[in-house]
């Protein structure tokens, strides 16, 4: 009787009033961490990390969908030739500012691209590990069910 009710619960996949016989509460899939052996090249990591902040960690740093979609192309203004006499100090000050900003932008972009690349590598490893885990679990489950079947064959249905 006792067993029967357990089995019913199991088959119904619904919790009963008895906590000890409940199926385990659902785990948040995001917290599931399969051990992934991933050692990125320290040089690559260095290229992906900002010196002022902590080293880039591919495990934690997820990129949102917003971040990942390819950058929209902004139309650049055509270059206009400026004669020498118009290149006054103000002009050069602006050029300097723009050059610095351009460098900054390029560096940021490069950094982000490197980070994404490392993250991709990590995700691949994690993917493989998860697949392995799934395979192992299914194997284990198969064996347990096999045992159950043998038991039932011997002792009748649970």
């Amino acid at each position: 009787m006792f067993l029967f009710s357990i089995l019913i619960d199991f088959l119904r996949l619904s919790p009963s009033g008895h906590p000890s016989r409940d199926t385990p509460s659902p785990i948040d899939p995001d917290t599931i961490q399969v051990p992934v052996r991933y050692e990125p090249d320290p040089a690559d990591l260095a290229l992906s990390s900002v010196p002022g902040q902590e080293i880039f960690d591919p495990r934690k740093r997820k990129f949102s969908a917003e971040e990942l979609k390819p950058q929209p192309m902004i139309k650049k203004a055509r270059k206009v030739f400026i004669p020498e006499d118009l290149k006054d100090d103000r002009y050069w000050a602006r050029r300097r500012k723009n050059n610095i900003a351009a460098k900054r932008s390029r560096d940021a972009r490069r950094l982000k691209e490197n980070q994404i690349a490392i993250r991709a590598g990590f995700l691949e490893k994690e993917n493989a590990a998860l697949r392995q885990e799934v395979a192992d679990l299914r194997k284990e489950l198969g064996r347990c069910k096999n045992v159950l079947a043998k038991y039932e064959a011997r002792h009748g249905p649970l």
Partner: protein, 288 residues
């Protein structure tokens, strides 16, 4: 293409060439910065800054001047258009290596030119142009030339176009200054009569004739190579981003499955634990 794959992803995310580029960081950033500063419309980049001054001897550009020889034609057309020499002796950004190497052993540029771009019968290899999905990133000149008279070689067409547009495209700040703040006197004043370049900042040793066909030819090749390299990098980045999105979704799905299977297992094991031991032990195996 040894130097071109800067950010190769598989099997490792970043190849050591990334490290190289980091080592060249300052030159790379400075010069490549100015490379990309040159907007897609720009047709000329002063690459003389990247050429090792010691290479400007009689050997410089020899191959351009003996282009009637079949050997040269074969060499040019044989598909090592991209990067004929693997080794690279010059400093400068990795992107610049390939095309320059071809010219390192050549003779010095002849100062003779005329104001119109003279199409020399050189063996110009047409670059097979990949499908242009990123049309918006292409400079107008590039597209433009593709639709022109087919009897002219594609490259020659670009040269013609560039020669005409050179005047307008002298940017205020075209090329890699050794110092961040550019000096007020610029070297790129384009004199129609054609002249030697004088008073170049940072590279006074070499006077390069910007109107010669050879120069334009080299410029064109380099431009094409640069565009190709940039396109390739862009495609790679897009692919990597796609991969990250896909893998993230995959991993989420796999995690859910792992969770589900684990729960199932736990439930099953719970059952086993609660069964009477006696009759069950034989059938047990490792489950409980």
């Amino acid at each position: 293409m040894e130097q071109a794959n800067l950010y190769e992803v598989a099997p490792r995310p970043l190849m050591t060439s990334l490290v190289q580029s980091q080592q060249n960081a300052y030159t790379y950033k400075d010069t490549a910065g100015d490379l990309s500063e040159i907007c897609e419309n720009e047709n000329s980049i002063d690459i003389s800054a990247y050429i090792d001054p010691s290479a400007f001897n009689d050997e410089f550009l020899a191959d351009l001047f003996h282009n009637s020889s079949k050997q040269e034609k074969l060499k040019l057309a044989s598909g090592d258009y991209e990067y004929p020499h693997g080794a690279n002796g010059t400093p400068g950004p990795p992107q610049m290596y390939g095309c320059l190497n071809a010219y390192m052993d050549s003779s010095k540029l002849e100062p003779i030119y005329d104001s119109q771009a003279r199409m020399r019968p050189v063996a110009i290899k047409q670059e097979p142009r990949e499908e242009d999905e990123l049309g918006h990133s292409m400079p107008p000149t590039y597209h433009h030339s593709q639709h022109h008279a087919p009897h002219l070689s594609y490259l020659q067409h670009q040269i013609a176009h560039c020669a005409q547009t050179t005047m307008h495209l002298q940017p205020g700040h075209p090329t890699p200054p050794p110092t961040p703040v550019p000096s007020p006197h610029h070297q790129h004043s384009h004199l129609p009569g054609g002249s030697m370049k004088m008073g170049d900042r940072g590279k006074s040793k070499k006077q390069i004739d910007k109107n010669s066909t050879e120069y334009r030819l080299r410029r064109e090749r380099n431009n094409i190579a640069v565009r190709k390299s940039r396109d390739k990098a862009k495609m790679r980045n897009v692919e990597t981003q796609q991969k990250v999105i896909e893998l993230s979704a995959d991993n989420e799905r796999l995690r859910k499955r792992v969770e589900h299977l684990t729960r199932e297992l736990e439930t099953l094991r719970g059952i086993f634990r609660q069964l009477p031991d006696g009759s069950f032990v034989k059938a047990m195996g490792n489950c409980a």
